[in-house]
């Protein structure tokens, strides 16, 4: 009897478990996760779940029959990995020996550590990663509440939009010159700033944060430029940490997420892949031949599913003793995809926008102040598109990403 252990019970862990079963693996399958909830969909957490009371069952992933005999170990974070012994240690003291392992522990929000004295207030400060996080923030988003959002990435901007719709006063603070500038670039970032401001969000951009004010409850945020922005609620959406502490000392390269080869096998610090140990989701730093051979992490919603489906057949084949030749012969080249809903704006993107040349961002179709499709070029290659509205047009570029820049 063999055993596959999936560590991390989010979308990536779920999809990997489904895929390994679908690929014919029928022995023991254990899914261990730090959260107590069964796997659920996270995008609603910064939108619907903040706006109205949404129960777990509304966001839970439907459980396929193929996972009927999975052993769930929820509320059980992993604390260590011993590759030699092929064994995972859980924080509750449990031990899980494995024949195949899937690393799916994902990310957590980076919290600001502004050292005292005086000690920093805790009450009124939030982050949004889990269902419980979102439920706690929802209680504080009362009409008229002064909400300061730290960070102007997608989560920060979605929370800002939702808080405005709920009648809060919203100030968004970020070190970046425009909201969402790192993923989207200046053209769309500036336009999204204009649209947020039209809805009443104020921005304090190009500034850091030096202190929280308040005793037990936060009352304000002091900016590096010296001003204090009053706050009843602070949402920290700065960036993320990789949940890889449990892999420290295992020999796996965890310098940024978990380094993988194109079959998503974890790679050791010495460069060798670890057979039977795979990585999915936000943590997986893998080369994508759609673009080049540089391993990168991709924090987009479709990647846990794509990587999970890649791992399933590869791991099942390995456990049958077939090795990895079949997987290696089938290159893994997923098209990154994400969307964001802010007010009534649907932002949809495909590709790797961050790879664009500095002067490689151009409007392909439409009008930036209305509906628009923006292209992202590296050399003469279209590496991505992003659109505000115009969804059928945005979708029409899917097949040409990674190919020559379209003639217009």
């Amino acid at each position: 009897m063999q055993r596959v252990v999936v560590v991390g019970a989010g979308m990536g862990g779920l999809r990997a478990a489904e895929a390994v079963r679908k690929a014919g693996y029928s022995d023991e399958l254990v899914l261990a996760g730090a959260e107590t909830h069964m796997p659920y969909n996270r995008p609603p957490l910064s939108k619907e779940v903040l706006a109205t009371e949404v129960e777990h069952e509304k966001v839970a992933f439907p459980l396929r029959a193929v996972l009927g005999d999975v052993q769930w170990r929820l509320g059980a974070a992993a604390s260590g990995l011993d590759l030699g012994a092929a064994s995972v240690t859980l924080a509750d003291g449990g031990q899980l020996d494995y024949d195949g392992l899937v690393i799916a522990t994902g990310l957590r929000p980076r919290r600001l550590d502004l050292s005292g004295p005086p000690p920093t207030p805790q009450a009124g400060r939030h982050a949004v990663r889990t269902l419980d996080d979102a439920a706690a923030l929802r209680k504080d988003l009362q009409p008229g509440a002064r909400v300061v959002v730290l960070g102007a990435g997608f989560i920060g901007c979605e929370v800002a939009a939702t808080a405005r719709l709920l009648g809060c006063d919203v100030v968004c603070v970020a070190i970046d010159p425009y909201p969402m500038v790192r993923p989207l670039g200046r053209v769309l970032g500036a336009e999204m700033q204009r649209r947020h401001e039209a809805k009443g969000v104020q921005f304090r951009l190009g500034t850091g944060i030096v202190a929280f004010h308040g005793d037990d409850h936060v009352t304000g945020v002091e900016l590096s430029e010296g001003t204090v922005v009053p706050a009843d609620v602070v949402v920290e959406a700065i960036s993320s940490h990789c949940n890889t502490e449990w892999l420290a000392g295992s020999g796996i390269d965890i310098s940024d997420g978990v380094l993988c080869d194109n079959t998503l096998r974890a790679v050791r610090g010495d460069g060798g892949p670890v057979e039977g140990v795979h990585v999915v989701g936000d943590l997986a730093r893998f080369p994508n031949p759609l673009f080049d051979d540089v391993p990168r992490r991709v924090e987009h919603w479709n990647i846990p599913t794509e990587t999970g489906k890649r791992v399933g057949p590869a791991l099942a084949g390995y456990l049958r003793g077939e090795g990895y030749d079949a997987a290696v012969d089938t290159p893994f080249a997923p098209l990154p995809a994400f969307w964001s809903d802010q007010y009534d704006i649907r932002l949809q993107s495909y590709g790797a926008l961050g790879l664009a040349d500095e002067d490689g961002i151009e409007i392909l179709e439409g009008d930036i102040t209305d509906e628009v499709v923006v292209g992202y070029r590296r050399g003469d290659v279209l590496v991505g598109v992003a659109g505000l509205g115009m969804l059928p047009r945005v979708n029409s570029y899917r097949a040409v990403i990674g190919h020559s820049w379209p003639e217009t």
């Binding site: 995008p43 609603p44 439907p62 919603w301 995809a337 969307w339 969804l391 059928p392 979708n395």
Partner: protein, 64 residues
């Protein structure tokens, strides 16, 4: 196999139409989702499962 789309959840992202074009269509005129086959043949199972997986709002379920 029966395909059920929760139309309260559906926001016409259209990812399903790429995964299973014989089963789901985004109407070019209205940009709204049209389910072409409620009870597709077993041969479409992989495609329909893929469509359910890639639906951003998880509005698609498969009933056997």
């Amino acid at each position: 196999m029966k395909v059920v789309v929760d139309m309260d959840k559906c926001q016409d992202h259209g990812q399903c139409a790429f995964a299973a074009p014989e089963v789901f269509l985004i109407d070019p005129g209205t940009s709204k989702l049209v389910v072409l086959q409620d009870e597709p043949d077993e041969a479409f199972r992989d495609q329909v499962e893929e469509a359910a997986d890639v639906c951003p709002v998880q509005a698609i379920t498969i009933e056997d």
